[in-house]
Amino acid sequence: MSYVLIFLALLMAGLVWWLIKQTINLQPWTASANTEAVRSDGIRSVTRNVPLPRTKVALGVFLAVVTSLFALFVSAYAIRMEYGDWRPMPEPTLLWVNTGILILSSVFLQMAWNAAKAGNLKTVRFGIAGGGALAVGFIIGQVLAWFQLTATGYSISANPANAFFYMITAVHALHMAGGLIALGRTVKRVYGAEEAIPKIQLGVELCAVYWHYLLAIWVILFGFMLNT
């Protein structure tokens, strides 16, 4: 459970710090005539002092939830590993290939994000569609890896190491698939658009952030599996 604890301690420390900062020097009981003096429109961006878009904040909150989920999986993994019957499983080379594909996919989306900021719609289209296709490739690759492993006798119920592998990769792939739905909608919007309006920029940005995040999670999970 130490992994979850560390994660939560950081998160809670952040939350408490933020709330204290927001609330410490105020005298809430005083009325003021000037509503503008009260910074009241939510979390603001650091660089420009404007409220962050709601979808962006929502993505942030959602990523915290997902992090909690994976931290718990990893904690359970670490605890279960201590028991005597744990036999590490081999990592098929295919997983390295998949990791490469996922990195590439992230790179494509980063490219799209940069292009969106620059207003270059053509590159946005290319990046986002390419990134999506690569992500589909990643999921297919993961499924192939499963088949390889089962074929060589590493079935899910044979050993807890295998069980964790199948379960965690499946949950990760499901998050990827969920992301693809959002991505698909953005792709549609991007292809329908005439120019890179803010709405499109935001959509591309959110997709890119989510992709990087899932990549980071995957790298951590993969590293964990390699080391055990």
Binding site: A33, S40, F62, S68, P160
Partner: protein
């Protein structure tokens, strides 16, 4: 404090607030069934939760009949008893209280109280309800599958949850786990809405420190739920895999019915960690909204500012943060390392500090207030009693040495019913009596309400106070019948009979409530827009019940939610959207009364 800091000339006229497109339903279905208005979703959530809660209540009555009169009635058999215990506990904690406080009150109150037109993602919000409904239906279906509902106890501990000898180890447990997973998915959709609405959609002037405590409570509870429910989700998935494909996450090597099972090496303790990592914050998921609501109800009906508002906010935040590091106090009997137990006992006692601060502040809010003993108010005051009661037994159970003999006895049952069953339910009632006039435009009947309160309050004490004593005798929980034992005194059986009668009285008392809820809708006294003369924004809407979009122009907030009996202002309350200049005229006859 006569120096209400303002300058009368400093008046800022209401500004145009940036308008967003508001969703408008085009079809009948979209308007009344798949509605995206948070207020309608709130009602849907509430009715569903209360409906399934009644099922859980009936289950508890059947259990009580068995316990009180083991020879006279033979309605249920031992398996049924276990199934009913499980379903009762799970429904009450998750499908009733969590759903009602967050899905019900959260949806209704957050947009109105922070001055928003709706939740930020109405569509996702709507889906959230329907997923919840499916979760409830799956749960109910588990009663009817072969083998019946699961009887593993609401904690669902493996290995017994999926081993022969426990009722419902096939369809029952599978549907339970699926239903929980669905609930969590649905909740996460709603929870994102609640958090982001509080963070990003507050109206102008509504700073964090001007939010009513109700919102603080619901907000923090949502944060806890978003982070804690994944633990339940993870354990549900892993147990499903153990059950369905024979993995050994939780299942140790064991011999069942004389045969070696195929499981090997799994860790039941791992499940306990995961479960209670969710389970303890869950207590606060239910308690924090109750804390918030009760603060507001007390303040309004005592015509006094809440005592120590900032302290109340920080206490909510502190409790929320601490609640993640106390979980293993539910596992003292699991054979843990003594130092581990010491650590968790310490954190558990530390969390009592912010909790006690809250209790002091409620009492100090009442101190020399102009207390109006309305029905919501007496429920809120009743809460203070039951919560102190349950909280104090909690301090005892938090100590390892005291918990060891009391664990799994009726003392524990008495403790947690006091602190997380009776107390939050009293707040639910307070809240319903308090906000019903806003939701329907009618008052609920006072006499019926008084009957309801006294039957519920005194009846609950009659049920749970004696249980502490049963616990001291060592009478274990989750038992169908006790038979002849040496350690049970002869009077225990009589006590059990008395408790059962009290339980029926309490259940009977709820009929007053349901009748009241129903009849007031048609015959209730007209309430007007702000019957309790409260300051918060939901009472300042131009229409009652509030229409789609809540406000005409979004309100501007000039003050916190607790300006009652402000010196220098004649009217004894100043709504949040009244500017300092306008406030001076309030109550001076000529001044316009906000309605």
């Amino acid at each position: 404090m006569s120096d209400v800091t303002h300058d009368a000339l400093d008046y800022v006229p209401p500004l145009e607030v940036e308008e967003e497109e508001l969703y408008h339903a085009k079809t009948w279905l979209g308007k009344y069934v798949f509605c995206q208005d948070a207020k309608v979703i709130a009602i849907q959530y509430s009715l569903t939760a209360i409906g399934i809660g009644v099922v859980a209540l009936v289950l508890s009555l059947l259990m009580r009949l068995q316990l009180g009169f083991p020879h006279e009635f033979s309605i249920i058999d031992p398996s049924n008893y276990l199934q009913f215990v499980t379903m009762h506990g799970m429904i009450m904690v998750i499908y009733l209280l969590t759903a009602l406080f967050l899905g019900g009150f959260g949806n209704y109150l957050i947009p109105l109280m922070v001055g928003a037109r709706d939740m930020v993602f109405p569509y996702v919000n709507m889906i959230s309800y329907w997923v919840y409904l499916v979760a409830v239906l799956v749960l109910v279906a588990s009663f009817f599958v072969p083998g019946g509902a699961t009887g593993a106890g609401w904690t669902l501990y493996p290995p017994q949850a999926i081993s022969p000898g426990t009722p419902g180890i096939d369809g029952g447990i599978i549907l339970m786990l699926v239903s929980l997973a669905l609930f969590i998915i649905g909740f996460t959709m709603g929870g994102l809405n609640y958090v982001v609405t509080v963070l990003q959609a507050r109206t102008r002037g509504m700073s964090l420190m001007r939010m009513p405590l109700t919102i603080w409570g619901i907000f923090m509870a949502t944060v806890l739920a978003l982070l804690a429910f994944p633990a339940l989700f993870v354990s549900a998935i892993m147990m499903l895999l153990d059950k369905l494909i024979g993995t050994s996450f939780f299942m140790p090597a064991m011999i069942s019915l004389g045969e070696q099972t195929s499981f090997d090496g799994g860790s039941p303790i791992l499940f306990q960690h995961l479960f209670w990592f969710f389970g303890h914050p869950e207590v606060y998921i239910v308690a924090l909204p109750a804390f918030g609501i009760v603060s507001d109800v007390l303040s309004v009906h005592a015509r006094k500012a809440i005592f120590g508002y900032r302290m109340m906010v920080w206490a909510i935040v502190a409790i929320g943060a601490l609640s993640f590091i106390v979980w293993a106090h539910h596992m003292y009997v699991s054979g843990m390392n003594p130092y581990f137990g010491f650590f968790f006992a310490t954190t558990t006692l530390i969390i009592a500090v912010p909790t006690a601060i809250k209790v002091y502040n409620w009492v100090l809010t009442l101190w020399r207030g102009n207390i109006k003993l309305t029905v919501p108010m007496i429920f809120a005051i009743g809460f203070i009693f039951t919560f102190i009661n349950g909280g104090i037994t909690g301090l005892f159970l938090g100590n390892v040495t005291i918990d060891l003999p009391l664990s799994d006895t009726y003392f524990v049952i008495a403790h947690f019913h006091m602190v997380m069953a009776v107390s939050p339910v009293l707040v639910v009632f307070a809240a319903i009596y308090h906000w019903y006039p806003k939701i329907t435009g009618k008052f609920m009947d006072d006499t019926l309400g008084q009957w309801h309160f006294w039957l519920t309050f005194l009846g609950s004490y009659a049920i749970y106070l004696p249980m502490h004593y049963l616990g001291f005798e060592g009478i274990p929980r989750r038992y169908f019948a006790y038979g002849e034992t040496d350690f049970m005194s002869a009077s225990a059986a009589d006590l059990n009979a008395a408790i059962t009668i009290a339980a029926f009285v309490v259940a009977f008392g709820q009929l007053f409530f349901f009748w009241n809820l129903f009849i007031s809708y048609f015959r209730g006294k007209e309430a007007g827009g702000n019957p309790w003369e409260a300051t918060t924004l939901e009472w300042q809407t131009p229409h009652t019940p509030p229409r789609h979009g809540n406000f005409d122009d979004l309100p501007l907030v000039y003050r916190w939610a607790y300006d009652y009996s402000v010196p220098g202002v004649e009217q004894d309350y100043v709504p949040q959207n009244v500017s300092p200049a306008e406030a001076e005229n309030l109550g001076k006859g000529g001044g316009e009364q906000p309605t």
